[in-house]
Amino acid sequence: MSISWPFLWHGVLPQLLAAVPMTLTLTLLSALGSALFGVPLALALGSAARWRRWPAQGYSLLMRGTPMLVQIYLIYYGLGSLIPREWMRHSWASPVLRDAFWYGLTALTLNETAYVAVILKVGLDAVDRGQHEAAQALGLSRMITLTRILLPQALAVVFPMLANEFILLLKSTVLVSTITIFDVLGTANTIRFETLRVDEPLLGAAAVYLVLVGLVTLMGLPIERRLRRYR
């Protein structure tokens, strides 16, 4: 191993840092999407009705029981091959359908939703039964009960798990580098192929991810402290 520090500092790191917004965008958008879709899925997972619970359980098993890489390929190559080429070329949706970014984001979101839902279900199960009954006795609507009573308490319980899941999500975004998305690892791989040097791009990428994960961990701590008052 021979590291050229000037190359790492002036040639590699600026390019990797320029790719950080892509990694963060993928992470944040799929986190938002999975939070949005994760709530109804968590409710379905805890539902007493079988026709709601079984599909939800099937979905979460499918997403959590297969590697994310397979899901990414299935969506990128599989979905891409199902869309008729002729239609795709002339359609208004063509810029979206041609860009690997949207396939990567879809795969990340679909996968993450299953994990978030299971965590949220743990939180919702932890909320005292009496809270449901009190909300009902007060005549609160189901929506208000969910958003103002159940979710805040559930979130306070599972926030550490969600913060941990966010870090896992940040780390799993690297998998979309395999479908020509230029996130930090994708950019490092491009530098690797173009310059035929491996040490600087890979170690540079490792440093960037280390800093990102460190920052996310530090940012989670004050939120965790704030949420504790809901417990």
């Binding site: 029981g65 397979v70 599989g78 799993s172 580098s177 994960v213």
Partner: protein, 234 residues
């Protein structure tokens, strides 16, 4: 050629061989992971500060880095370093190169070891302090204490966590397909999909293969959990 003339367009046998490789990588890497995990947990629980610091660095670094990046680091940097070190130490002849299977297994095992370290450490710490004092009072030899008192109790605490890591290990085995030198089940599926243009079918087959591994593992883990239940003293 129709896809159904031969099983999966003639790729059936290759897919089965790929599945075998995936299972071999999963099992071997998990075994290596258990070794790293045992050493890591022992180091984290040790009285020596340097060992605790080293193990802390190991688990923090490995768990902060993406698995795919760690696999790439192992193949493109780690393996070369290990080879040169082996030659330098006189353990291997000049021009020695590591078997890629070994590199993959050690790399994935190294990753799982970091997670296993945390699970085992927590499992040992969950054993009540009184057990230690009682063993001291009975003057049990240290090895008997570890083997008959600590290990069985820690195992019941750790089983859930170890099971989850095993499930992850089977999925992480798919990462080696990115390297292009292994014909694991995902790589064979990719090649078959690209050659036949039946992308959905072949990637669905790959997904189904992993799902079957997951389902069988879950059933086995549940059986194991029931078997070990009587050991659970609370």
């Amino acid at each position: 050629m129709s896809l159904w003339e031969a099983p999966l367009g003639g790729y059936g046998m290759q897919l089965l061989l790929g599945l075998r490789l995936t299972l071999q990588v999963s099992l071997c890497s998990y075994t290596v992971g258990l070794v790293f995990g045992l050493l890591g947990a022992a180091a984290k629980l040790s009285h020596r500060r340097s060992l605790r610091l080293g193990a802390g660095l190991y688990t923090t670094l490995v768990r902060a880095l993406p698995e795919l990046l760690l696999v790439l680091l192992a193949f493109y940097i780690g393996a070369g370093l290990a080879e040169r070190l082996a030659v330098f130490a006189g353990l291997a002849p000049q021009g020695f190169s590591l078997n890629p299977f070994v590199v993959a297994v050690v790399a994935l095992g190294f990753i799982q070891g970091a997670y296993i370290t945390e699970v085992l450490r927590a499992a040992v710490l969950a054993i009540p302090r009184g057990q230690h004092d009682a063993a001291r009072a009975l003057n049990l030899p240290p090895l008997t204490y570890l083997g008959r008192i600590v290990a069985p109790q820690a195992l019941t605490h750790a089983l859930g966590g170890l099971g989850n890591i095993w499930l992850n290990a089977t999925k992480d085995a798919s990462l080696i397909s990115v390297l292009g030198i292994f014909s694991d089940v995902l790589k064979v599926s990719s090649l078959a999909a690209a050659a036949t243009k039946h992308y959905v079918i072949f990637y669905a087959v790959a997904g189904a293969a992993f799902l079957i591994i997951t389902l069988i593992s879950m059933a086995l883990l549940e059986w194991l959990r029931r078997r070990l239940m009587p050991l659970h003293v609370t």
